[in-house]
């Protein structure tokens, strides 16, 4: 091969199982073992969920949107329910808000422990993967006991929640999180001190706070670079107003910091769950919710385990939403993988990708623009801007 061909040697990864069990296509240009350029192509699991909401009423849409993500399903339903409740000028009772946050924090524990196992597996540390997943069963069982389902819990209703926290539940949750807290301390020790594992994480994928700001990353990925960004703190919703969250940050910005941030966040979740159980408000679980929602638009932001989850909801006076727009945290975080890949060893790529806790199915959206002429076409940014100016003139 000539030197020019070697420079342009590109290795495709995916779309089948690039790192996780979801499809996405990556192309890495390599010079020997060193990555010199990276690109991504998403969209293999586009499901048309946003369009699907246009043919369903608000109640049905909530369950559809819950299925955007199989891991952080509850926050999707919570974001949608909070948004629709705001449009309908209805507020769920305090007990319902507390239960929403309680289930949300249990879900965060399950999501972070799942990620810990997956990321350890990517590093070839299957022992950590298997033990962390064994312990994760504890929180899965708690969620099943409370809500009735292991995944897609369907705990929310528009205007409240379905499930109550009984004394027996409270006892089970306390016992469960006591056990998990002990195990989490052990896993923090493992990821901070295991010499072999640290070779895969320390100093890999270092992202400075400036780079994190510039790339617009969210959630634990941003917090691992010292950017204190958390919707639960910046714009508290539901019971987070009464139970403030202590934001967890690390300064190193490498993969090790991303492990530590997520594991330390688990301790914060345990503290929050205990605080909510100690001060569980009494009262109803639901409030009356109108079937038709007056015309209006709103945004609803919540902190999913992976970062900021954004919903835009537009109502038109009927029982069906006019438009629902979802932005999941993987989309802003994906750019960081491409930016950080350059200069790293090719073997570090699966770990770098797993480091942002990507969820490909969640972030696949499609934008199609109907030109005034009638044909669907692609517009440039300038054309789009001009169209916007003309539209509102």
């Amino acid at each position: 091969m000539t030197s020019n061909q070697l420079e342009n040697f590109r290795i495709p990864i995916g779309p089948q199982h690039p790192a996780l069990k979801e499809p996405g296509h990556f192309e890495f240009a390599v010079d020997g073992e060193t990555v010199t350029d990276a690109s991504v192509r998403l969209g293999y699991v586009h499901r048309g969920i946003e369009k699907g909401t246009e043919g369903r009423n608000y109640v049905q849409s909530m369950y559809l949107l819950e299925r955007v993500c199989g891991i952080c399903s509850h926050v999707h339903a919570t974001a949608f329910a909070l948004g629709v409740e705001r449009l309908a000028k209805v507020e769920a009772p305090p007990r319902a808000q507390a239960i929403r946050v309680l289930v949300g924090e249990l879900e965060r524990i399950h999501s972070h422990m799942l990620w810990l196992g997956v990321a350890a597996h990517e590093a070839g540390f299957d022992l950590l993967f298997m033990y962390s997943w064994r312990d994760r069963e504890t929180v899965m069982n708690l969620l099943e006991n409370i809500t009735g389902n292991r995944v897609n819990y369907s705990a929310n209703l528009l205007g409240g929640v379905k499930c109550d926290i009984t004394d027996q539940h409270e006892q089970e949750i306390r016992t469960g999180i006591d056990f998990l807290e002990e195990r989490t301390a052990y896993y923090l020790d493992v990821v901070s001190n295991d010499a072999m594992f640290l070779r895969r994480t320390r100093g890999i994928g270092v992202m400075s706070p400036e780079a994190a700001e510039q790339l617009g990353v969210v959630g634990p990925t941003a917090r691992a670079s010292g950017v204190a960004r958390d919707v639960r703190v910046d714009a508290p919703y539901a019971a987070y107003v009464d139970h403030p969250v202590n934001i967890v940050t690390e300064t190193a910005g490498d993969l090790e910091a991303r492990f530590k941030v997520r594991i330390k966040e688990l301790f914060e979740s345990y503290r929050l769950i205990r605080a909510i159980l100690d001060n569980m408000p009494e009262g109803d679980l639901t409030t009356r919710m109108p079937r038709r929602v007056k015309p209006g638009e709103t945004i609803s932001r919540v902190e999913a385990p992976r970062g900021e989850l954004f919903y835009y909801i537009k109502s038109n006076g009927t029982d069906t939403a006019d438009r629902v727009k979802v932005r999941t945290p993987t989309l802003p975080n994906m750019g960081s993988v491409l930016a950080l890949a350059v200069g790293h060893q090719f073997a570090d790529m699966p770990m770098l990708l797993a480091g942002i806790d990507p969820c490909f199915s969640c972030n696949d959206r499609m934008v199609s623009i109907n030109a005034p002429g009638g044909d669907t076409q692609q517009w440039t940014w300038e054309q789009l801007r001009q169209y916007g100016i003309e539209y509102y003139r």
Binding site: K51, V59, Q60, L128, G148, S154, K162, D194
Partner: protein, 141 residues
């Protein structure tokens, strides 16, 4: 820094019982609030069909035989049901229940996934009618 931090854990597991469950030889009792198969009670049903309207999976159909006499047949598609429990919340008359112990729903025959609840005579009359082509309506905006 330590070499091989988890070896104690791994060796300790050699003398422990497996964490996995021995299903189907050992069946754990289902949690009290587990949502499994749906049951419908004719008593009290007004045929308002809120359950069918709110079902996100189109798993419920209320067939009205005689509204004044409150004779309805509840057509339930077990294979479509996502066990979300919305129908239970939507029903104002507490006619619907998701029991916790009927969760082993796998079947070899597709007929097992369609259930009819109601008076025997009404169910027979519904079943006697020629079956309509079961084409799912595409959802359009």
């Amino acid at each position: 820094m330590k070499l091989s931090t988890m070896w104690k854990e791994a060796l300790g597991s050699l003398v422990q019982r497996p964490a996995t469950e021995k299903y189907p030889f050992v069946r754990q009792e289902a949690p009290e609030h587990l949502r499994s198969k749906l049951h419908w009670d004719l008593e009290g049903c007004t045929g308002c069909s809120l359950c069918a309207k709110d079902c996100p999976a189109n798993a419920i159909e209320i067939i009205t035989i005689d509204k004044k006499a409150k004779r309805f047949v509840f057509h339930y598609y077990v294979d479509r049901c996502t066990f979300c429990g919305q129908c239970v919340a939507s029903c104002n008359k507490d006619c619907i229940e998701l029991v916790n112990n009927e969760w082993e729903l796998a079947a070899l025959d597709k007929d097992n996934f369609e259930l009819y609840y109601g008076n025997d005579a009404d169910v027979d009359s519904v079943l006697a009618e020629p079956a309509e082509a079961d084409v799912e309506e595409p959802i359009t905006a």
